[in-house]
C-alpha cells in the first residue's frame, strides 16, 4: 500500500497551488489516473481525506477520472485498447489483467508498446478566494 505517500505528495502540491492563488477553501481536486497504474482510487481518496483534516481542503471533493491504456505499434498504429476485446476477456476477474492481456495491436496483432494508462496526474483544483474589490 503506497497510497498514503502518494496522497502526501498530492496534498502538498494542492496546498502549494491553492496558497499561491490566495485560496480560502479548496472545493474540488480532480485527478487523472491511468488504469494500469498500481494505485487504488478509493484508498487514495481516503488518505487524502485524512491528510486534509483541519486544512482549507478539508471539505474538498476528490474526483478521480480513469484513463484507458493507449498503445503504439511498429506498424504505425496508435490508439487506445480495443474495448470489444476487453469485454470478450471478461472471464478475467482483474480489470488490470484484462487490459494487459489485450495489449496487442488491433491492426496487425503484434504485441504493442504501452504509451499511456500508467499516469497519475493532478489535473486541476477548484478554489474559493475572497473578492478584494
Amino acid at each position: 500500500m503506497h497510497e498514503f505517500s502518494i496522497a502526501c505528495e498530492i496534498f502538498e502540491q494542492v496546498m502549494a497551488t491553492a496558497k499561491e492563488h490566495g485560496a480560502t477553501e479548496v472545493k474540488h481536486v480532480t485527478l487523472q489516473m491511468g488504469r494500469l497504474s498500481h494505485t487504488n482510487p478509493e484508498q487514495l481518496s481516503f488518505c487524502f481525506k485524512v491528510l486534509s483534516e483541519e486544512s482549507i481542503a478539508e471539505n474538498a471533493d476528490f474526483i478521480v477520472e480513469m484513463i484507458p491504456p493507449s498503445l503504439e505499434c511498429e506498424c504505425g498504429y496508435t490508439g487506445t485498447v480495443d474495448e470489444e476485446k476487453i469485454r470478450e476477456n471478461c472471464e478475467f476477474k482483474s480489470e488490470l489483467l484484462a487490459y494487459a492481456a489485450v495489449m496487442e495491436c488491433p491492426i496487425c496483432g503484434k504485441p504493442a508498446q504501452i504509451t499511456g494508462g500508467r499516469e497519475l496526474i493532478i489535473k486541476s483544483i477548484e478554489i474559493e478566494t475572497e473578492d478584494q474589490n
Binding site: F4, S37, R118, I122, E126, T129
Partner: protein, 224 residues
C-alpha cells in the same frame, strides 16, 4: 465581500516527477559508466541469494556496490557486507518500494568512480515497485515456484515492464506442485521479447546463465 470560484489547471504527474529524478540518476550512472540493476520480486523469491551469487562470482573482476532497500534494510545489508562490497541500506519505513529520490540520496554515499556494477535490491513485492523507475539500466523480476504458477498472470505489469525475468527455486517445483514451464509461457505471453531464465541455487549451470547476463550488461556499459 464576495467569494470567487476559480478552476486552476495543474497538470502535475506524480509518477513523471519520479521519472525525472530517475532520469537524472541514470545520467549520473552513465557518466561514471556504472551498470545498474533494479532487482524486484516478492518476499522470499530469492533476490538476496541471487545477488549474493553475482557478487561472489564477479567481485574479483568488477567493482560492485549494493543498495539494499527494505522496510528494515540492515539484515540484507549485513549479508552483502560479509562479501566485502560497499553496501548502502535504505530503510523505506512504511513504504513498500524504493523510489528515485531514495536512490538519488544513496548514490551520494557511493564512490561511483570506483564502481562498475550497482545492484539495487528493491522492497519485496510484485506491485508497488512497478510504477517507480530508479534510473536503472536493467529491470529484473525474480519469481519463485513457491509463489504458485498462477502468480504471473495475477501481476502482469511487473512482467510487462521488466527486461529480464528469473524463475527461481525450480529444483523444488515438483514438491510444490508447480509447472515452471507454464510460468515461463505466462511471462512470454505478457512480454514476448523478455529473456526468461530458470534458476536454482543448487544448479551451478543455471546460476552461471544468470550471472553472465549481468556481466554482459557491465561489459556493454564499459564499452559505451
Amino acid at each position: 465581500m464576495f467569494m470567487l470560484m476559480h478552476v486552476i489547471d495543474m497538470g502535475h504527474d506524480v509518477y513523471k516527477a519520479n521519472d525525472k529524478v530517475a532520469e537524472k540518476n541514470k545520467k549520473k550512472l552513465d557518466k561514471y559508466q556504472v551498470f545498474s540493476v533494479n532487482v524486484m520480486g516478492a518476499i522470499g523469491s530469492g533476490k538476496t541469494t541471487l545477488i549474493e551469487e553475482v557478487i561472489r562470482q564477479l567481485k574479483d573482476k568488477y567493482k560492485i556496490a549494493v543498495i539494499a532497500g527494505d522496510v528494515i534494510a540492515e539484515m540484507d545489508s549485513s549479508r552483502f557486507r560479509k562479501l566485502d562490497v560497499p553496501t548502502i541500506p535504505v530503510n523505506t519505513g512504511k513504504e513498500c518500494h524504493l523510489d528515485a529520490k531514495l536512490v538519488e540520496k544513496a548514490l551520494d554515499e557511493i564512490d561511483l568512480n570506483n564502481t562498475d556494477l550497482l545492484l539495487i535490491e528493491n522492497v519485496g513485492n510484485l506491485i508497488c515497485p512497478v510504477d517507480f523507475k530508479l534510473g536503472e539500466h536493467l529491470r529484473v523480476v525474480i519469481v519463485s515456484v513457491t509463489e504458485g504458477d498462477d502468480i504471473i498472470l495475477k501481476h502482469p505489469m511487473i512482467f510487462k515492464t521488466s527486461n529480464l525475468a528469473v524463475i527461481n527455486k525450480v529444483d523444488i517445483a515438483h514438491a510444490v506442485d508447480v509447472d515452471a514451464e507454464k510460468m515461463r509461457d505466462d511471462i512470454l505471453s505478457l512480454n514476448p521479447n523478455v529473456p526468461v531464465i530458470l534458476t536454482s541455487k543448487h544448479d551451478w549451470e543455471s546460476l552461471e546463465t544468470w550471472i553472465s547476463f549481468i556481466e554482459l550488461g557491465v561489459k556493454k556499459s564499459q564499452n559505451r
